[in-house]
């Protein structure tokens, strides 16, 4: 961070003359280790660093991003930003004066128990080799892999209003996959934390039980080969947190993004069935549905102190007792729409401008255990671990698939089914929510590949959720 502060000082000494500016400096370190089929894959160590200057002046807004962090490089980026601000002044969609200003001063650093560097690479590879041995339990396991990835994002945002926000986010991503095959039937099973990312250090390895989880992953992949296909009919559906994450993400998170509602994303990510008039009155789901934007949950993927334009982080209800309250819109979108919002203006890195993104979008817990949810089902299916996701551009007609399903009969879990999938319409699906697990069943997870924006940006998004029960859902299995 000191390094970024030094660069910021250089910029401050030559700060552009304009109404308002921000400088966002980002440094990232990535490390990726993987052992596949017992062979160590080439490890990959990456360092990225760059700056984005955003400038408001002369009635316009523009940005310039550069990997040249010298005084001359920053000056050139500011000049590019000023050039685009002049074009915006002539052709802009809105008045530059509504651009949000920040004087926020705050710091955040992921609290880590075991830093990445405390374990030598040889020992990390030994863990992955041991996981490989535990995955390769028989010949029908035709591919298997264990990985450990590290990402550190250091960001310093300074503004001409005296704002200064530094955030250092650390992630360690462990994961496992086993692929089973017999003839023309192939089934895949993930585990070891592969879809349950959080902030943290090497303590994540123990938290997700990377090694201990390997036999289960391999055994379930094999068991799926022999399982019947998920039935095709209408029945009750219990979704584990590993699938709830995608259900929340696609059919609550995205449709509530205010820039989609304002039309910015209509050429790419899409629009939304939600319209401005719905806030404060629309019934999004049953009484059991409570959804928050919550950057304060410890260790969740997007917990921090401010967004990328310097709006201070704060928890907000998006949906309360099923009623839609507020959209996911940063300060600029709020000004454009005349609606309340959240501190969720984010950029994927230094080379992309901030836009409305999900942060941590959480489904608040209800009461009871997973077993209590299952006990309420006479005829249903439970689904675990997302494997397929698709939804229309208004975020209404969805279809999801999972890696593994289990039938539920008379309140009890029965046999395994393969290729489980379900489809529905967001606007009616959440009204069929009839059970929400309690705090003890809540899991903190997220999505590491949320794509959106022109130019395209992929970001991390956090989702904490308990398992949930939905009534009368169209489910199906595989086959042509």
């Amino acid at each position: 961070m000191q390094h970024l502060c030094d660069i910021a000082d250089v910029f401050l000494r030559q700060a552009p003359a304009c109404d308002y500016w921000t400088l966002r400096l980002v440094e990232e370190e990535h490390d990726h280790l993987e052992v596949r089929q017992g062979v160590v894959e080439p490890s990959r160590l990456t360092y990225t660093s760059g700056a984005m200057v955003t400038l408001v002046g002369g009635g316009g807004i523009g940005y310039g991003a550069t990997s040249d962090l010298s005084a001359a490089g920053l000056r050139a980026a500011a000049e590019r930003a000023a050039g685009w601000a002049r074009v915006h002044a002539r052709l802009g969609l809105f008045e530059a004066g509504i651009y949000p200003r920040s004087s926020t001063r705050a710091d955040y650093r992921t609290p880590i128990e075991e830093p990445w560097s405390t374990l030598p690479i040889g020992e990390k590879l030994d863990i992955l080799q041991a996981a490989n041995d535990a995955l390769a339990i028989e010949d029908r396991i035709v591919d298997w892999s264990a990985w450990l990835a590290r990402r550190r994002v250091s960001q310093l945002l300074i503004t001409s209003d005296g704002g200064r926000v530094s955030q250092v986010l650390d992630y360690v991503h462990p994961g496992l996959v086993a692929v089973a095959n017999e003839g023309s039937q192939t089934q895949r099973r993930h585990g070891g934390g592969s879809d349950g990312s959080q902030q943290g250090g090497l303590e994540r390895i123990a938290a997700v039980r990377l090694l201990e989880d390997a036999p289960r992953v391999a055994e379930e992949a094999l068991a799926l080969l022999d399982a019947p296909d998920c039935p095709q009919d209408t029945r009750d559906l219990v979704l584990l947190p590993s699938q709830m994450v995608l259900q929340i993400h696609e059919s609550i998170g995205h449709p509530l993004e205010l820039d989609r509602i304002l039309g910015d994303e209509r050429n790419y990510a899409g629009t939304s069935f939600v319209t401005p008039g719905m806030f404060g009155r629309y019934r999004y789901g049953s009484e059991l549905l409570n959804v928050t934007f919550d950057p304060t949950v410890p260790m969740e993927l997007v917990s921090g102190v401010a967004d990328d334009e310097g709006a201070p982080a704060a928890r907000e209800y998006l949906i309360r007792r099923g009623i839609l309250e507020r959209p996911l819109g940063g300060a600029l979108s709020q000004a454009r729409a005349g609606l309340p919002g959240t501190a969720n203006t984010r950029a994927s890195s230094w080379d992309r401008p901030p836009i409305d993104r999900m942060g941590n979008i959480n489904l608040e817990p209800g009461e009871g255990s997973l077993a209590d949810l299952i006990a309420q089902v006479e005829r249903g299916v439970l689904m675990d671990t997302n494997r397929s996701w698709s939804i229309d551009d208004s975020r209404n007609k969805f279809q999801f698939g999972c890696e593994l399903g289990r039938l539920i009969e008379d309140g009890e879990l029965k046999g395994l089914v393969r290729n489980p999938g379900y489809r529905g319409i967001s606007a009616s699906f959440w009204r069929s929510l009839d059970g929400v697990g309690g705090p003890e069943s809540l899991e903190i997870r997220g999505v590491c590949n949320c794509g959106k924006g022109e130019p395209n940006q992929s970001v991390y998004v956090g989702h904490a959720t308990p398992p949930c029960l939905f009534r009368d859902v169209a489910v199906f299995g595989g086959g042509e």
Binding site: G83, L93, S390, D392
Partner: protein, 439 residues
């Protein structure tokens, strides 16, 4: 960063290598203007200049990879690259032999400088907004230089530079009633833009009719090249690469096993020689002009990258495990005969958000989007509310395939997740006797 600066940097690094070390340096350089538009006004505009260096350090049978961003200043960049090299050297001592290490031991050289006439981005945006006056236009303009370089201590020296523009946009009538267009290439011509906008105005005229709401079921359909592109994108996702075939994960598993096939008219190729991407791999291998992936409806060959080529003993024919310059063979259907041949059914302009529904059976689900119409007796009669399909490509490109158009459209990718993409596809439209709509 230009070729000379890159090769000079690589020479400096190569001069520091210890006797048994081998180094591959790859460079990606981009200078891009990005302009977002909404409601035919400028929403967000700026410039991105980025230069990234990737290094692969090899000693004996061991290798490690790394990367860092460069500034453009020679002294600073040498320092950054040296720091990275030192870290890789430190790590190299701790990794085991890699049985699948593979690189070209043959020195080779090439350079490519694409011709382009790009207008200043700011001027073009003004022109676009004026030409689309009265329309609700939304989309993205991206333009500028892209370059990729490769240098190795063995003697590889390759440079591939181009300048291009990519305007990807749609025009809305209301809610999700919209038509989409794209104009990309190397020589900007305002007349082409105006002609494309005119076609969109006609499309919006039809969009103004009340939308037809379809019930789930099987419908005759014509899929325009952009829609076909989405289906080809699904096949590109694990369909052709050697590793996914040898580990039985390809969605074309049944075809590879000879249990299923496409219609004999289906031929799918990776056309390196017509593409926009460099003709060298990061490991220094040249790519062949063409690779036939599917021929006569049957599986022909896999894409083989350096690593899986070594593992399975096959010659390298690609830099990446997904096609970057895919071509689907043309058919015999004339464009102007399409509505008549379709007779009554769906004209699908674009598909959206596809994913595997059941990869073992090559079953894909996705949505209709933009420019999708109901056709009756060969006449477009109404737009159609978005519908979800869920169907196997063994049907759509197999027993339900009626024809492919004679004319093919070249689609240049507008994707910018990992820098501005050089992917492209050359595709016909496809007429099918039925596509299953489920929601």
């Amino acid at each position: 960063m230009n070729a000379d600066a890159f090769f000079t940097l690589a020479d400096h690094l190569n001069a520091e290598l210890r006797s048994a070390e081998i180094l591959f340096s790859n460079l990606s350089n981009e200078s891009s203007d990005f302009v977002r538009l909404n409601r035919n006004r400028l929403r967000q505009a700026g410039h991105v200049g980025s230069t990234a260096l990737d290094l692969t350090l090899i000693e004996g049978s061991r290798q490690v990879e790394g990367g860092c961003d460069l500034s453009g200043d020679p002294t600073e960049d040498q320092a950054r690259a040296r720091r990275l090299l030192a870290r890789l050297r430190e790590r190299l001592a701790h990794v085991p032999d890699d049985p699948y290490l593979s690189y070209s031991a043959e020195p080779s050289e090439s350079d490519h400088y694409g011709d382009a006439r790009l207008p200043p981005a700011a001027e073009t945006i003004g022109e676009l907004i004026a030409s689309a006056d009265g329309m609700d236009l939304v989309g993205i303009w991206a333009s500028g230089d892209i370059a990729e370089g490769l240098a190795s201590s063995i003697g590889h020296r390759h440079w591939h530079a181009s300048a291009s523009f990519n305007l990807d946009w749609s025009c809305y009538l209301e809610a999700d009633k919209a038509v989409k267009s794209a104009y990309s290439g190397f020589d900007w011509d305002p007349a082409i833009l105006r002609a494309k906008l005119e076609v969109m105005r006609e499309g919006l005229h039809i969009m103004s009719r009340p939308a037809r709401i379809l019930e789930p079921g099987r419908y005759r359909a014509y899929l325009a090249p952009s829609a076909v592109g989405e289906l080809m994108g699904m096949l590109a996702w694990g369909g052709f690469d050697l590793k996914s075939h040898r580990t039985h994960q390809t969605p074309l598993l049944k075809m590879a096993r000879g249990e299923r096939s496409f219609d004999p008219r289906i031929g799918i190729r990776e056309e390196h020689d017509r593409g926009l991407a460099p003709r060298f791999t990061a490991e220094g291998f040249p790519t062949p002009p063409r690779v036939a992936l599917v021929e006569g409806g049957r599986f022909a060959a896999c894409l083989v990258d350096a690593r899986s080529g070594k593992e399975y003993g096959e010659p390298v024919n690609t830099a990446s495990d997904a096609p970057g310059s895919l071509g689907l063979d043309a058919g015999t259907l004339d464009d102007f005969d399409v509505p008549g041949q379709l007779d009554t059914g769906l004209w699908i302009g674009n598909l959206w958000y596809c994913n595997w529904s059941d990869p073992n059976d090559c079953r894909v689900t996705g949505m209709t989007r933009f420019g999708t119409y109901w056709v009756e007796s060969g006449e477009i009669v109404a737009p159609v509310k978005v519908m979800r399909f869920d169907d196997s490509l063994y049907h759509l490109l197999g027993d339900r395939l009626e024809g492919l158009t004679r004319e093919r459209e070249l689609l240049l990718s507008a994707e910018t997740y990992d820098g501005r993409s050089t992917d492209s596809a050359l595709l016909p439209g496809v007429l099918v006797s039925g596509i299953d709509l489920t929601l």
